[in-house]
Structure formats: structure tokens, C-alpha cells
Amino acid sequence: MTPPIVIVAAHHLRRLVRRPALVLFLTAVPLTLAFVESAAFGPTAAINGAPPPVPVLFADEDRSGASRALEACVTDGIGKDPLAVTSMDSRAAAEAVFRRGDDAALIVAPAGFERGLREGTGAAVKFFPRSADDGGANVASEVLETCVALANGTLAAAVTRSEGIQKLAGIGGATTRVTVDRPPMTTGGGGNNGADVFLASIFPGLALFAILFISQAMAALLVRDRTRAIHSRIFTLPVRPWEVFGGSLLYLVSGLTVLLIMMGLLGGALLHLQLQSTPALLLLGVGFIVCAAALQLLIGASAKSDRGAQSIGAIAVMMLSLVGGAFVPVENYPPAWRALASLLPNGAAQAGMVRVLTVNTSAAGVGTQIVTIWTWAAALSVIAFTVRPR
């Protein structure tokens, strides 16, 4: 026999399908988003676009001429275009920022770096990638290795060590182009290039905004039931409260998941986005959908009328989207705001999706974001069930 949860979910989906105007509206939102983005930033218009630089931290503990030369190479030399380097005074401060930030890698020039070169014992620059298979970290690694190779070449060509160290300053101005190994789109091997990276950076935010927005329209169907006697009748039926709640949640989650997949396919077809690391995208996307669904159920349960639910929902959707970075890239926000955005379900989902789409990271690479989103999903679901209308 079909479980009541499935009966309730299928029932609401059938009702949704029976409202052609609403279905048309729900379909039009992602289509419009995709077409607008395609027209504005599509492959033809954005063929000369550049990939966003990879954020990297550089901690110079040695503060010597040699370490500064290496930092200059990574920051203003070879790494000028592919990397966005933030210089830190201490390793401890850099590690703290690295732990909570979005930087792809941390580079440390340790104390005694130059002394090792002078004494001939060697010097090692430390490189900490956020994850081993992170494309951004790979770019940073290649830039660093090229700078180190330049430095070693300079040292080897010098007559004395002191002369070599003095000449190291020259590598800061090196402009040798680094070959960034981001597989081209046509190979299907993962990673988005050029303009597509730019699109991959903005598409998730708008897609998540669409999900939030549409979840409100779908939940309105349930809120109207509450203001009519239908809701009361359901609670006189031989089904348990959690089954009714679960059915409503499943209705929203399944409907929105179809929508997310549709938006993904449209993004692939129109914007040439590569949907790579599918498990990671699904964990992020479905987690966020559960958050959005539970949030709407919570709003519906708290509001006194469907009009009230609409007002509260609209405010919540706009605030979340604004703070989470749907309309303005979070990179443009002040640090505190960025930190807040990364803690929000849509901010975390957006950051994770952008990361997956631009540097083809795995689920492990966006583990922090996945944990954040699913923690929100669980908490919102529990709260929504607790305050559900009775």
C-alpha cells in the first residue's frame, strides 16, 4: 500500500499540475533567467571574458628580501592574472582566515627562508591546498612552482649565494605565462573555461533565488488549505501529523528538484555550463531545496493568513538572496558580511556550486558548504514540524 507521505505529496503535485497558470509561471521563471543570462553573457557576447582569479593567501614569516621576491612573483608577477593574493603578516593569522574563508590555498614563506639560502642548507616554501583535487589550488600550485623554478634558476646562475639572493628580486617582475590546466569545455573532462567560468559564477546565485521564489508560490497552495477547512479535515483522517508534514515537504522538495534539474539542463544547453561533480551539485542543490521547502512551511505555519504568509515569504526571500549574494557577488561584500553569507543556506549553496562549476571540486571539496546547508535543512524542518498548524 502506498505510504501516506507519498499519497499527500502526489496529491499536491497533481493539484499543482491542475493550475496551468501557476505551472506556466513556475516554468517561465527559470526560462527567463536562462534567456536573460544567455543574452547578456552568452558565449558570443562573452567570448573575451576572463576567468575569475583564484583567491590565495600568502604569509611571509621571514620578511626578508628573498621571501618578498617570492611573494612579488606570486602576487604581481606570474600570478598577477590567475591569482588574487591576500598578503598576511603572520602564519597564525593566515591560517585563521584560511580556515573560515574561501581561499583555494595558503602559501607560507617560513622564518629562516633566506638564511637557509645563504647558508646553502636550502629553503622550503610551504603550500597548503584547500583540497587535493581543487582546481583553484592546482592553479596556485603551478604559479608557485613556476616562481620557485625561476628562483632556483636565478640562484644557480649566480656566482655567489649572496649575488643570487640579490638577483631574486628580479623574479617579482617575471611575466612568464603560466599554463593553467583547465580542460576545455569540448573535452567534457570537467571545468569551465573563460566566459563560461564567469557564467558559472553567477548562474548558481540566480538559480537559487529562483528556487526560493518558486518555493513560495508552491507553498501558497498549502497555506490556502489551512485558511480553508481542508486542513482541518485532513487532521481528522487516520494519518499521523508527521505523515501530513512529510507529504507536504516531499511535495515541495520533489517539485523544486525537478525545477533545479531543469535549470541545470537549461544552463548547460544555453550557457554551455558543464554540470560536473554531479553528486556534489546534488548534495548542495537538494540540501538547499529542503531548506527552502522547510522555510516556506515554517512561514506558512507562522502566518495567520495566506496574505501574511506571502508578505513574510517575500521579505525572507529577498533578504536571504541579498545577504547570500544572489544579486551581488559576495566578493564585493565587507568581510563580516561575507562571513555571514557563508553561514546562510543560500550563501553556502551558492559558494559551493560556484566552486564545483568553476574548479570542478568534488563533494569533499565543498564539505563545509554541504554540512552548513544540511544542518540548516534539518533545523528548519524540525522547527517547521514543531510549529506546524494543528
Partner: protein, 329 residues
């Protein structure tokens, strides 16, 4: 058309201890308070299978709160109830009970068959059994020809009938109906009353809440009169009429001085003044035929009489006697 068979009132309907027909509902000492307002005060009632129990009272009397308690929507502050032997509020109790709420509780965007299919599935019906029950119920409520039309296109009476169908589809032992004919035209009302009677013939117990006295007199085996949350009296319609002791309602219409009327009839033997206004005087009189001349004589000295009506005992009169108010107030 809905076929209605002639039926006799349930034998030994009054008297809770009669053993012949099993009880579908037994509620004991129900109480419910909303802040300062005591909405239900110590209500006890029992209903047997095949019995139609009328819960009669004006708006705000406590009928809907009582129905909501019995349907498990509201928890009583005190008291207990059993539905066909199952504890009130339990899944088992809900399975053997059907609810017909006062407001339409159906989905207008779906058709009748889809509506019934959803509710039927949640009652545990499936496959061929579900389809057969839907067919049977649609026929019973006379909607089989519109079964595939969206409910939003139905007339008010048809929607009411579907509202009832959703509560009886699973063939419950007890159906709670909360004013199912509110706002309907006489023809639709008649159709629903016939439906309720035919339902009782199948062995279902029905608690029928209404403020329409004529409905209760037409279809109910037993009646409980409720006001201000308390069940004032219960019995068959005949028993309740007899409890008036052969009293009749005398209505005088014309022009009067209410204060003078009150003084004149106050303390008069076997005459109770129910209400006096500028244009109407209502008297509850024992043996009105014999006393009419004297009453008219008294009244004519207090004003101008233009119309005189003498009504046989009704539940309205009983309600007036019990509460001093009319049902429609």
C-alpha cells in the same frame, strides 16, 4: 435521484442503557474553555448505530466546538469519549469516523473522483475497492454524471453533497455533520436531508448539528438542545414536544407598549411572557384555545391587535421555554 426508504425511529432510542443496538459514540462530561468563555460545559451524549442524533442550538451555542472535540480536532479540557469503542483522537477512532465540516473541505481544482480518491487512500482504501467505493458514493450523492468535472464548476448544493461524500466514502460507523445545509436553497437542503436519512438506513450513526429546527424535526431520532455550551435537554422530538405540557405559542402582532404588557402578563397563571416589543408580543400558554378570549381581552387594553397566531408545540417553543430566547437569535 436519491432513493429514500421509509424508516422508523430507532427502538428504545432514548435511554443510554438500552442494549439492543451497539453504541457508535459515547461522550462523557466534555468541557472546553477558551479563555474566559466556557464553550462546552459538561456535555455527555451517546449515539447508537443507525441513529440520527440532532444537536440543535443557535449560533455560538457550542455545537461546532462539541463536533470539533468529537472529531479529534480540539482536545477537551475534561471528559472522555469513545468512537465505536476506540479512544477519541486515536488512529483507530479516526478510521471508523467520518467528518462533514460546516465549511467546504474539498479541492476545487480537482474533480469529484480525484477528491474522493485522495481522501479514500488516506482512509486506507486502494485499488478496486477504492474505485468501487467511489462509484457507490458518487451514485449515493447523485454526482456520478459530473464526476470528472472540476469541483470549482459545481453548484453550491453539489459541492455540499461532495463534501458529505468525502466523509462517508469509507463507510464509517459514525458521521459527524456540522451544519451541512448552511446557505443552501430548499431543494438542495431537501436533497441532503434525504441523503442523511438514507445513510442512517445503512447502519451509520449520525450526529447532525444544526440551528434549523425543521431539519431536526424531519430527520432526527433524538435531539439534544444545546445553548451556551450546555446540553439542556435531550429526547425524541415527540418527547420534547410533550415536555411542554400541551403549551402553545400565542403571537400577537400590532402596536403595544412593552412595559405595560410585561406588567399585565407578569404572574398570570399558565401564561409565560416570552417577549414583548412595540409590534409583537409572544406568550407561552397552557391550553391556549380555552384562554384565548381572555388573553385577547387583556392585550387589547394594552394596545392595538392586528394579527393573532396560535402555534402548536415546537422545538422552537421548547428552546424559548428553556432559554427565553429564540433559536435564530
Amino acid at each position: 435521484m436519491i432513493a429514500v426508504a421509509e424508516r422508523q425511529p430507532t427502538p428504545d432510542a432514548v435511554g443510554h442503557d438500552a442494549p439492543a443496538v451497539p453504541l457508535a459514540l459515547r461522550a462523557t462530561s466534555l468541557r472546553k474553555r477558551f479563555g474566559e468563555i466556557e464553550a462546552v460545559r459538561n456535555v455527555s451524549l451517546s449515539v447508537r448505530r443507525t441513529e440520527i442524533y440532532g444537536l440543535l442550538g443557535p449560533n455560538g451555542a457550542g455545537k461546532s466546538t462539541t463536533i470539533n472535540i468529537l472529531s479529534g480536532l480540539i482536545e477537551p479540557d475534561e471528559g472522555t469519549a469513545q468512537i465505536a469503542g476506540h479512544v477519541l483522537g486515536s488512529i483507530e477512532a479516526k478510521r471508523v469516523m467520518g467528518i462533514v465540516p460546516q465549511e467546504l473541505a474539498i479541492y476545487p481544482e480537482l474533480n469529484a473522483r480525484e477528491n474522493l480518491s485522495f481522501f479514500g487512500q488516506l482512509y486506507g482504501l486502494s485499488g478496486g475497492e477504492l474505485k468501487a467505493r467511489i462509484d457507490r458514493t458518487l451514485e449515493l450523492v447523485n454526482l456520478e454524471n459530473r464526476a470528472r468535472d472540476a469541483v470549482g464548476t459545481y453548484s453550491g448544493g453539489m459541492q455540499r453533497r461532495l463534501n458529505i461524500a468525502a466523509g462517508i466514502l469509507h463507510e464509517p460507523k459514525l458521521v459527524l455533520m456540522d451544519e451541512p445545509t448552511v446557505g443552501l436553497d430548499p431543494q438542495s437542503r431537501r436533497s441532503i436531508l434525504d441523503l442523511v436519512q438514507s445513510l442512517a438506513l445503512t447502519g451509520t450513526a449520525i450526529v447532525y448539528s444544526t440551528h434549523y429546527m425543521d431539519e431536526v424535526e424531519q430527520i432526527c431520532d433524538r435531539v439534544g438542545i444545546i445553548d451556551r455550551g450546555a446540553l439542556l435537554v435531550e429526547g425524541t422530538v415527540d418527547e420534547l414536544r410533550q415536555s411542554l405540557g400541551g403549551r402553545e405559542l400565542v403571537t400577537l402582532r400590532g402596536l403595544f407598549q412593552p412595559t405595560m404588557v410585561q406588567l399585565a402578563f407578569d404572574g398570570m397563571h399558565d401564561v409565560a411572557l416570552v417577549r414583548a416589543t412595540d409590534d409583537e408580543v409572544l406568550l407561552n400558554v397552557a391550553g391556549a384555545a380555552a384562554r384565548l378570549q381572555a388573553l385577547l381581552g387583556t392585550a387589547s387594553r394594552l394596545g392595538e391587535i392586528r394579527e393573532v397566531l396560535v402555534s402548536r408545540p415546537t422545538l422552537e417553543m421548547l428552546f424559548l421555554k428553556l432559554t427565553g430566547r429564540e433559536l435564530r437569535e
